[in-house]
Symmetry: C2
Subunit: 502 residues, 2 copies
Amino acid sequence: MQNAQQLYTEYVTIMQKAADLNYAAAVLGWDQETYMPPKGADYRGRQLATLATQAHEILTSDPFGKIVHQLAGMDGLDDTQSANIRLSVEDYERNKKLPPAFVEELSRLTSESFNAWIASRRQNDFSVFLPLLTKMIALKRKQADLYGYKAHPYDALLDEYEKGATIAMLDPVFKGISEQLPILLDKIKAAPQVSNDCFHRHFPKQQQWDFSIDVLKGMGFDLEAGRQDYSEHPFTTSFAPADVRLTTRVDENNYASLLWSCIHEGGHGLYEQGLPGEQYGLPLGAAASLGIHESQSRFWENCIGRSLGYWKHYYPILQKYFPTQLSDITVEDFFKAANRIEPSFIRTEADELTYHFHVMIRYELEKALIQGSLNPKDLREQWNAHYNKYLGITPKDDKTGVLQDVHWSHGMFGYFPTYSLGSFYASQFFGQVQKDIPGLHEKIQKGELQPILQWLRNKVHQYGRRYTSEELCERITGTKLDPQFFIQYASKKYSQIYGISL
Amino acid sequence: MQNAQQLYTEYVTIMQKAADLNYAAAVLGWDQETYMPPKGADYRGRQLATLATQAHEILTSDPFGKIVHQLAGMDGLDDTQSANIRLSVEDYERNKKLPPAFVEELSRLTSESFNAWIASRRQNDFSVFLPLLTKMIALKRKQADLYGYKAHPYDALLDEYEKGATIAMLDPVFKGISEQLPILLDKIKAAPQVSNDCFHRHFPKQQQWDFSIDVLKGMGFDLEAGRQDYSEHPFTTSFAPADVRLTTRVDENNYASLLWSCIHEGGHGLYEQGLPGEQYGLPLGAAASLGIHESQSRFWENCIGRSLGYWKHYYPILQKYFPTQLSDITVEDFFKAANRIEPSFIRTEADELTYHFHVMIRYELEKALIQGSLNPKDLREQWNAHYNKYLGITPKDDKTGVLQDVHWSHGMFGYFPTYSLGSFYASQFFGQVQKDIPGLHEKIQKGELQPILQWLRNKVHQYGRRYTSEELCERITGTKLDPQFFIQYASKKYSQIYGISL
């Protein structure tokens, strides 16, 4: 009979083989968004499907299931090994709940539905997407049934993106936000608006790029173990902790477009580079959850990258790149411009505060769609009604309204809440880092960001999936996720910017 | 019982699944040479190995073997289908001859041997590479035994790159060349040398690139189904006929470096784009052989891209990019510079004529190494002696001598001859195309290259692997490969350039 270590080695071999296939798919996906010529799309689609299927087959095979279950019952594994096995048993059981025929149907429908969404956007008409969306929602409800759930089918879908997240946990979080944020926003609305004209001058592409590389280096992003490229929609992907790819976009007449997407993706990238390489392909080598991933990007983008201290160091460097464009703008002006609050239609371009209403709207609609209390054919009307209610604006058409996000066409229901969770975790971590690092703000003003990265490495990155989001949050800050940290952070910051008293 | 069409569909599904994995590996390989950050190398190595192993397992599995053999004995397939099955049976039987343990040993030794070659080059000392090379040669002899052969073990290795090629076929070809080419070269040597100074001026990178894109478009390379990037060593790779990647390199002080590598790789790329997409993953969707592939690149590079007619059209365009650099150079000067003949040490930088001595030297040495009549420890000495004999020059060190090519470290014995075969096929095809297309030279002078591409599409590209190199050559030109076509082509061209009488 094999001993635990021998069997564990077998387990690692299988896991890493599947990881090789999944990372290969990530390379193909990266290339698809960055360099692939247009006619390559069809073949790329089938190559990606084959890689995903092969990896899925490996990880749902009966022999693999036998190995992980056997290991789960054996002595002789260390802590790390036991944690990997515990998570792999969970993953295996979860994966097995979806029969191959269902996986195939979902994959096919996703492809059709994505194409319908593209066509729908082109025609700026939600009704083109509606039939496929209706099918997709039915299939996602079926998926929730296959996974199983206690309180609400939406919980089963949430769990895929944020383990342990449920409506019971999210409802109070969003309730807190939806009660308190409007108070702050009303005060901001009553105060004189700050100008962000300084972003809308002409900034040549190359200098924008060069400064963004300075920014990434300053954050500690290792450009020997990663790179930045252009794509239509910024994203981060990883082929190993030693090869992390960021993408950004550029608009010569709107510097904000590149700048914060660069810092945001840089935050994701630092997390990926900080995952333990020796756990390659294993649960402890992967990010804790989407919410924690987003906490890393939002931490850098908002808590650091939109702070006055950060720009006290970086603004003079930026001015050297753009001496004429920024000659009349002080660092305080620039800081304010970076934090201008204004309701808008498009989630990805929203400011740090109104952003959460975008997420909340989607969260409410998704719950109702999955529960069956909202008929998809009423979705456009409900979307617009919600925007009117929460943001006081009504989308002028479907492209800036219900058709703006790709997620539903990909079948990603339950994903949106992780965006807000990320911000809330980020604020809570930021509160803690200010206690843990003496003289933090002086360091930031001098451009010394290394201690921050070190803190994130120690507190978050090194653990991979060892702890759930909630466990991690409690270990780091001593308390569960509490949106009050975000409200306090926001109130302090924006009362300064808009000169309002609380 | 299944009918032939049902079983054939199963065969296609399996073949295309393996192709998806192999093409995915090609994407990873392309990225490795173009954009991958340095620290990504180790993980990339294992990802590539997994993809190769998975594809190999699929294509050597017993069930797959059963399917192809069953299909080979069935009625009810059309011509194309039968040709695919015939070739797949051959491939399967050939692949099965190598036991998994051997494949693994070869893969491991290749990796070690490549690292030793890198170290050896860095130290400029052949003796560092020698132990691994010795092992590699022993393993390649074992491989030849596993494949089996009639006359000579080297034949078994040649067959892997150029099906049907044997020493019995190659010896007379190279004998003809080695007897006749020196006569021409002696006359060239006696004539006044032509100047190629015009390449060694300062040519800014961006303009070089822009002109190279004009050149590729002019050849008919579809930039919606492919692209060009930079890499250290130019190469072409393909992920489907609709996604073909060329790479080139640039030297601001030597324009020749980019220019002909671009046309050369463009020739390879046109072949890949011309392969039938509906045969994706099947033998008839793949190139006929390495020799035929090289015939396409050499055809464009030498027969077209180094002709006076071609530059009569393109030189004025080039001059617009570089008005000052080329103001004193006539198109005739430029044409001559592009065809300067001069013995040199490095194969990849050799001119169109002396190139074949580089290949011949490697061919002679490889035969002796595989036969066992040359001890690897005497290889450096023999290398230098051969360079002295054939080219009248002696390498000053190992880097410009025996260590210059990567091939042996990769275990690629039998590959080099395909380079010369490519040139010889190209000349023979060029002879034919002049007969087949009325007014060809006038068309070339007007930049009308489309009829040439059409001819190559019809005569070569559309067939994939349906015919062997020899069959293809005979179908197109009415005769087997005959190096006299090359000698005649070269004599005519170079007597004009060097003003010599034959």
